[in-house]
């Protein structure tokens, strides 16, 4: 057997993105143009793998480090993926997400200009609010998903690690009169779980006053941080942007709380899957439209009606007529996990789709998956077969999420 598979580059490199035929060459490779000012480049030139400001702490805590989209990140700590997953659902878990791209946008009418690239209502996003969204391409596919915050005198944007080198030039080229600054000197730490408010609030009382999808600037241990009440686990929690020289000190202070443990990429993936949240490169990519990806909720009414974003024609057509395929939750009846790429068949034996994310859901206590099925299929309760290693395994279409989202609204 090859027991390292799940913990090696194969699984966690940008290959997830490559496999889906994105127009990105070798994700994770150092792109001299896009990253010439990258100050995180403090690593061996031989591997060209980047490290976040928390790297030393991960190693000290026993993190099992893997290559993820060109970053050396912890896939798990000694607690293990299941333990870390449950920690997040029951108490609080801390994730290093510094590999994601933090970007500041300054200029006149930034929100309106972003609407030319995204189907979200960013022009009307109020100060102190954050909103999930995505860049669409001319064909109505998804270029990347992101979070945009209105920070008052600027906009703060967080994009996927593997797509920084696509998104930054995209914004520079298309946001006329907007200064696009990629931040290289701040860590980004996510504290997620029902006890996240206690963990973060103990050091930063202002965090308690935030509601879901609100953002503010506040001091933590005397250092100015950006604190946003959001995340990607389905739980209440925060993402905190911290100056790199204080990142370890503040992270240690969070971890000193009895209810907070570090968690890695493995738990992050199973948490977001149970929460029914899409992973770029698996569930959404340049070919999938937001309507197909069941992301209609993330496009505001005015934008759906007005259009005016790349690929609006396809999105509006699919909203009116229904998409050719649709992302749904799929629950295998048995214990065998259905992984990415597994074929979905209707009971008559015809292929109706494919799994895009599949794993074991520790909170569900069994396998969980998401995948696309063609029009005419995909109603919750529909029985299907999953072709796992050549054998048909019974499964059922289910409503997402698998685990109730637990946001503080």
């Amino acid at each position: 057997m090859h027991p390292y598979t799940g913990l090696s580059n194969r699984r966690y490199s940008g290959s997830q993105v490559d496999r889906n035929r994105c127009k990105i060459d070798s994700v994770g490779q150092t792109d001299g143009n896009a990253f010439e000012t990258d100050r995180y480049e403090k690593v061996s030139k031989m591997t060209e793998i980047r490290r976040t400001p928390l790297y030393g702490l991960h190693v000290e805590l026993g993190g099992k480090m893997v290559d993820f989209a060109g970053w050396e990140m912890p896939v798990q700590y000694p607690l293990g993926i299941m333990g870390e997953h449950k920690q997040c659902r029951e108490k609080a878990a801390l994730f290093d997400v510094s590999h994601m791209g933090q970007v500041i946008l300054r200029g006149e009418n930034v929100g309106e200009k972003l609407e030319a690239l995204c189907p979200q209502a960013y022009a009307t996003l109020k100060e102190g609010k954050a909103r999930y969204g995505f860049f669409t391409n001319a064909e109505g596919g998804i270029m990347d998903d992101l979070i945009v915050s209105n920070a008052g005198d600027h906009y703060f944007v967080v994009v996927n690690a593997a797509l920084r080198h696509q998104d930054i030039p995209h914004m520079r080229a298309n946001l006329d009169g907007v200064e696009v600054t990629e931040i290289f000197d701040r860590a980004l730490v996510a504290v997620q779980g029902p006890k996240a408010e206690d963990v973060v609030g103990a050091l930063c009382p202002a965090a308690r006053d935030l509601k879901f999808m609100e953002t503010t600037i506040a001091d933590i241990l005397g250092v100015e941080c950006r604190i946003s009440r959001l995340g990607y686990t389905g739980e209440d929690g925060y993402e905190i942007s911290i100056p790199e020289d204080k990142a370890i000190e503040i992270t240690r202070a969070f971890l000193a709380h009895e209810d907070c443990e570090p968690a890695g990429l493995g738990a992050r993936d199973s948490l977001r899957l149970e929460a029914g949240l899409c992973l770029y490169g698996n569930d959404i990519d340049q070919t999938t439209s937001p309507v197909e990806a069941s992301l209609g909720w993330a496009m505001q009414k005015r934008r759906k009606e007005e259009g005016g974003f790349p690929g609006a024609e396809r999105v509006q057509r699919e909203l009116a007529e229904g998409p050719a395929r649709k992302l749904v939750g799929i629950k295998p009846d048995g214990r065998a996990p259905a992984r990415q790429g597994v074929e979905v068949q209707c009971l008559e034996g015809n292929t109706i789709g494919q799994i895009t994310s599949g794993s074991f859901g520790p909170t569900v206590g069994g396998p969980v998956a998401m995948g696309y099925v063609s029009a005419g299929h995909g109603e919750p309760g529909e029985k299907v077969n999953l072709i796992i290693r050549g054998k048909a395994q019974p499964a059922q279409i289910v409503a997402l999420p698998f685990v109730k989202q637990n946001y503080k609204r």
Binding site: M1, H2, G6, M82, R335, P337, F360, P362
Partner: protein, 121 residues
Amino acid sequence: MATYYSEEHEWLAVDGDTATLGITKHAAEQLGEVVFVEQQEVGDEFEKDGEIGVIESVKAASELYAPVDGEITEVNEALADNPGALNDDPEGEAWIYKIKIADAAQLEDLMDEAGYKAFIG
């Protein structure tokens, strides 16, 4: 009775022309928490390096490869309901198959415990 080890991280406890087969503690540690084991059936014959099962952790599926030619004579059914046993006691209670070895000469290609320890470093 002697125990042999393969480069694919299986152990094989040989007693005459029969043997018990499982995965090593090292493999179990690397896999992480095992959530599913797919086993073949009694009577199934296999060739050395052929796939004889799949072990899935939270994150990924790993194939189990036959260290020698042979036939399955017994399946550890307990693993279906309790795959986590592979993390708790992979070299004991969580054996995977009992097999009949077809060609004992193939054992010479496997490692002894000291050799395996050196192999995994």
